[in-house]
């Protein structure tokens, strides 16, 4: 105890410390730089979320025809979500769709990122742009494209008919399959970009060291490359899971009546039913569920790092 104290005294002695005036000036400069982004985040992120939470704890007055929100604190909206299986089902479906899309995006995206980072030596920018360019096209257009591809008289059915596999349309569109397919397609680039970013930073000498010590390509991938790219894969998975679970466009465009996802439900409650506190409660529940998943996986990863 005493030793640490003496050491600290010595290292932060008066000579090393700049004069008071300068320190004040530095602090002011730091504040000036720090305030705008903090204010931005506070205003556009924390304030809306806080309002969402507050709104979800109020209720509407069902007796008035315009259903005004009354500032009457209660947790009825959350109880209703828990009690009515229909809402839990929609929430669960959203999460499962999100997880499926995440899994598909990982299986598709990681190998592409690996190929880009390790195998492409020439014209890497060209291949990289091939991944980026689709992101420039409006999401709506990309989702709409699947309508053309999957429709009863769309590209897939046309091809199936042409080779004589079937003579009546196979219903692909307006299904849960179509929703997950579209979500996977739309969010795979995120997985590619985050994985690529981390794969590119893995020193090649680590792979060489593994070869050198007698492990072949597969074992090297399993023991060195993959463990070191977990952070990138996880980051991509968080993106995909969060965005896909709360997606509105894909289920609206290519989903069927029984494939409703939570964003559509919220839209319904907000727009058609005009029960804003309940819509807010649904939104907040989804946020919490995704956060729980994110924290769980990052906790698992940390534990793995410490123990593995």
């Amino acid at each position: 105890m005493t030793t640490t104290l003496t050491i600290r005294k010595e290292t932060s002695g008066k000579a090393a410390r700049p004069p008071v005036e300068e320190r004040r000036a530095r602090r002011r400069a730091g504040l000036a730089l720090g305030v705008p982004p903090v204010a931005w985040i506070a205003f556009f992120l924390f304030v809306p979320y806080a309002y969402l939470l507050i709104l979800s704890l109020w209720r509407v007055n069902p007796l008035s025809p315009y259903l005004p929100v009354v500032h009457d604190w209660n947790i009825d909206s959350y109880l209703r979500i828990l009690q009515e299986p229909a809402y839990l089902k929609v929430l669960l479906r959203s999460l499962v769709n999100g997880l499926c899309a995440t899994a598909a995006a990982t299986v598709l995206g990681f190998p592409i990122a690996y190929f880009l980072a390790f195998k492409v030596t020439r014209r890497r920018m060209f291949w990289y742009m091939l991944v980026i360019v689709p992101l420039w096209v409006s999401y709506l257009v990309r989702a709409y494209a699947w309508k053309v591809i999957l429709g009863d008289y769309g590209v897939v059915n046309g091809a199936l008919r042409a080779i004589g596999l079937t003579d009546h349309p196979v219903h692909l569109l307006y299904s849960r399959f179509a929703v997950i397919l579209t979500l996977s397609h739309v969010f795979t680039p995120f997985m590619i970009l985050t994985s690529y970013a981390i794969l590119e930073r893995i020193p090649r000498s680590l792979v060489e060291a593994s070869y050198d010590l007698g492990n072949g390509r597969l074992k090297t991938f399993a023991k060195v490359t993959l463990p070191l790219s977990w952070p990138g894969i996880l980051a991509g998975a968080f993106f995909t899971l969060g965005l896909a679970s709360g997606d509105f466009v894909a289920p609206s465009l290519v989903g069927g009546a029984s494939d409703v996802m939570i964003a559509q439900q919220i839209y319904q409650e907000f727009g058609a039913v005009n029960n804003r506190p309940f819509a807010a409660a649904l939104g907040f529940t989804l946020l919490c569920l995704v956060m729980v998943l994110v924290f769980m996986s990052s906790w698992l990863e940390k534990r793995e790092q410490i123990e593995g």
């Binding site: 070869y211 007698g214 492990n215």
Partner: protein, 369 residues
Amino acid sequence: MSAAVTGSGGAVQLRGITKSYGQVLAVDALDLTVRRGEFLTLLGPSGCGKTTTLRIIGGFEFPDRGSAGVLGKDVTYLPPFKRPVNTVFQNYALFPHRSVAENIGYGLKAMGMSRADQASRVAEMLRLVQLEGTERRRPRELSGGQQQRVALARAIAPKPEVLLLDEPLGSLDYKLRKLMQVELKEIHRKLGTTFVYVTHDQEEAMAMSDRICVMRAGKVVQEGTPTQIYDRPASRYVADFVGNMNFLPAALLAMSDPAEACVQGLGQFTLGQINDAQPGPVTVGIRHEDVQVRGGAAADRSPAPANSFRAKCVAALPIGSVTRLIIEASNGVRLMADVQRDGANLYEGNDVEVTLPSARLCAFAEDRS
């Protein structure tokens, strides 16, 4: 078309190795035999092809032409994981997600060694590099010097036939580097493994090697023991790269025995060694520490020895174990002399007599490239 590697002449045999990257020729028809148990150093500036040569032995690069053999077995196109060779990488390349013990045991596990044997070998290696007690730590929790030792332990744990070291001390500070040089040499003696060492640091090469190959533009320009390289450099390039040498333009006189040269502005000198220089314009060289200096007053009392001239000592620089004198002859020719520290500062600003002992004075052909 690799020439068959035959016989068991050495631990490593390279025959006509050629490797280019695009337009750049990195290694040019290189022949090299490393004897068993030898500490061989490839010495040269960056870009001379020494690292590429090492990577070809390690299996990280395949040559365009030529063959590589380890212990008489052709390994030219074998991947690294099938060679009885291990590497200590320049930046250590320790696995950041694995503990020190796991790093050292990595190659043992790949060999399929039993857990108990792995553990005892890891412990043995940690003792060898004096890192007991760090088993459970991660590489990033260690200092640069400790990481270096882990990298060494990891590479020697599988008991390779040949250990390749790619500038392993490059990122350590001066003091630690000196210490590690001694330790590396010690470990080499204990293990008896063949070491192939790559460095651009001539002091390092001198201190550790049994044999040095000085490289230039993908070729070995001179090989020999550290003493041979230092005392009998075969070219100006080698002389310049190893140690400190004065170079003076001169004309080599037609063959006489002993050889004589007329050094520009200083007169005629007898040479000890002329390498492959031909009569005509040459460069003569003498190491800083071989230049003999005595005070003008002392010189006045005795006859001038051979190979000497009068000059002025412009400055005396206390560079450490010796004092470096900067000497200027009357016509502006400058050279440096490293002399004993005692009384050396008295020379500063005074007339001196400078002797270039003929045994230490050598001539080099004009550099053709």
